[in-house]
C-alpha cells in the first residue's frame, strides 16, 4: 500500500492517471446531474408548505454539504503537505480552494433566493448564515495566500496553516442550528433518526449530492493537472508528457 501511495503521489504518475480519469468522471457527473435534476425538478412532488420553491433544495443542500466536505479535504491535504512536504498534497489543497469557494457561494446565493419568498428576507445574521459566510471568507483567505508571494511552496504552507485554523468553523456551521435559535431550520437528512423528507424528494437530493462529489473530483483533477504543469514546468516528466500529447 505504501508503494502504491508513493507511486500515486509522484507528480508524473498522477498527471497521467488524472488525464485518463477525467473523461470518465465527467461522464458520470453528467449522467448523475441529469438524473438528479430530472428527479428533483420533474418527478418530485411539490412541498405541502412551500410549493415549488423548495426545489431550490436540490442545489442548495448539496452545495452546502460540498462547502464543508471540500474544506475538510483542503485542510487535510494542507496538513499532509505541511508535515510531509508532499508536493501533490499541496497541489490538491491549492486546487480545492476555488471549488470550495464556488460551492459556498452557491449555497449562500441559492439560500438567499430561497429565503426571500419563504422567510421574507434575502439575508439574516443568524448563526447558520453568518458561520457559512465566514467559511466563504476563509476560502478567500486561502486563495489569497496561495497567490501571494513568488514561492509557491511557501504560499502553500501559509495557506495550509490558515485552513487548519479555520477547521474550527466546520463543527460550528454544522451544529449552529442546534446550539442557537436560528431562523434557518434544523438538519433534515443527517439526523440520527429517519430523515424528515419524503422518499420522492430524498432520492433526487442524494443523487444530486453524489453528482456534486463526482463534479468535485472532475474539477479538482483538472485544476490539479494545470497546477502541476505550472509548478513543475522545468522537469523531465513534463517534457515527456507533452511530447506524448498527454
Amino acid at each position: 500500500m505504501w508503494y502504491w501511495l508513493h507511486r500515486f503521489s509522484s507528480p508524473a504518475y498522477f498527471y497521467r492517471f488524472a488525464g485518463k480519469a477525467i473523461p470518465w468522471l465527467a461522464a458520470i457527473t453528467g449522467l448523475l446531474l441529469l438524473a438528479g435534476l430530472y428527479g428533483g425538478l420533474v418527478l418530485a412532488p411539490a412541498d405541502y408548505q412551500q410549493g415549488d420553491s423548495y426545489r431550490i433544495i436540490f442545489i442548495h443542500v448539496p452545495s452546502a454539504w460540498m462547502s464543508l466536505f471540500i474544506y475538510m479535504v483542503m485542510a487535510t491535504a494542507g496538513g499532509i503537505g505541511l508535515i510531509w512536504h508532499i508536493k501533490l498534497a499541496e497541489v490538491i489543497a491549492a486546487s480545492s480552494a476555488p471549488i470550495g469557494a464556488s460551492f459556498t457561494f452557491i449555497a449562500l446565493a441559492t439560500g438567499s433566493l430561497w429565503g426571500k419568498p419563504m422567510w421574507g428576507t434575502w439575508w439574516v445574521w443568524d448563526a447558520r448564515l453568518t458561520s457559512e459566510l465566514i467559511l466563504l471568507f476563509l476560502y478567500f483567505g486561502v486563495i489569497a495566500l496561495q497567490s501571494a508571494g513568488e514561492d509557491k511552496r511557501t504560499a502553500s504552507r501559509a495557506s495550509a496553516i490558515l485552513a487548519l485554523v479555520g477547521v474550527i468553523n466546520i463543527p460550528i456551521i454544522h451544529f449552529s442550528v442546534e446550539w442557537w435559535n436560528t431562523l434557518h431550520q434544523g438538519a433534515t437528512v443527517s439526523k440520527m433518526d429517519a430523515p424528515s423528507i419524503h422518499t420522492s424528494m430524498l432520492v433526487p437530493l442524494l443523487i444530486m449530492a453524489v453528482a456534486c462529489k463526482f463534479y468535485y473530483a472532475t474539477s479538482l483533477l483538472m485544476r490539479a493537472r494545470a497546477e502541476l504543469l505550472d509548478r513543475e514546468h522545468n522537469s523531465h516528466w513534463i517534457r515527456d508528457a507533452l511530447k506524448n500529447h498527454e
Partner: protein
C-alpha cells in the same frame, strides 16, 4: 526524521490551540448568539424593552385579525407556554399562516403589544407532498377533523 516530527507536533499543537480557543469563544458568546427571544422570555422581562429585539414562536390558530382599513395585522404568538400579541404593518411572507413558526423584529410597547417592523417565516425541516402531510395530520388527530389547540 526529526524535523518532520517537529512539524507534526507543531500542527497538532496548533489544532489543539484552535479547538481550545474555539470552545472558550463559544462559551463566552453563549446566549448572546440567540437570534430571537421566546414569548416566555419576553413576558418574564428577560428581553430589553428599550431597543429592538426579535421574538420567535408559533402563530396561534385563529388569532390573526386584519384591520378593515389599512394593512395592519394583529396576531398572537406562542411558545406553547406564554402568548404575546403582535401588531405588524406590511407585507407578510408567503409562509405566514396559522400554526406557522415566525420571527418578528420590533419593540415591546408599553401596553405589552409587540410592535413588529419585520416578520419572517421560519419553516421546519420537514419536506413532503401535500397528500402525505394530510394523511399524517389525519393519523395524528386520530381520525378526528382537527385536534383542539
Amino acid at each position: 526524521m526529526k524535523p518532520r516530527r517537529q512539524r507534526m507536533i507543531f500542527v497538532a499543537v496548533m489544532l489543539l490551540g484552535v479547538a481550545l480557543a474555539g470552545v472558550l469563544v463559544l462559551q463566552a458568546i453563549g446566549e448572546n448568539m440567540l437570534y430571537f427571544y421566546s414569548p416566555t422570555q419576553i413576558k418574564s422581562g428577560e428581553a430589553p424593552t428599550n431597543h429592538t429585539v426579535r421574538v420567535g414562536g408559533l402563530v396561534v390558530e385563529g388569532s390573526i385579525r386584519r384591520e378593515t382599513q389599512g394593512v395592519t395585522v394583529h396576531f398572537e404568538l406562542t411558545d406553547t407556554a406564554e402568548r404575546i400579541t403582535i401588531a405588524y404593518t406590511g407585507i407578510l411572507p408567503d409562509l405566514f399562516r396559522e400554526g406557522q413558526g415566525i420571527v418578528a423584529r420590533g419593540r415591546i410597547g408599553e401596553d405589552g403589544v409587540f410592535m413588529a417592523e419585520e416578520v419572517l417565516a421560519k419553516h421546519d425541516e420537514n419536506y413532503m407532498p401535500p397528500d402525505v402531510a394530510e394523511a399524517l395530520e389525519t393519523a395524528r388527530s386520530g381520525g378526528k377533523v382537527k385536534a383542539a389547540p
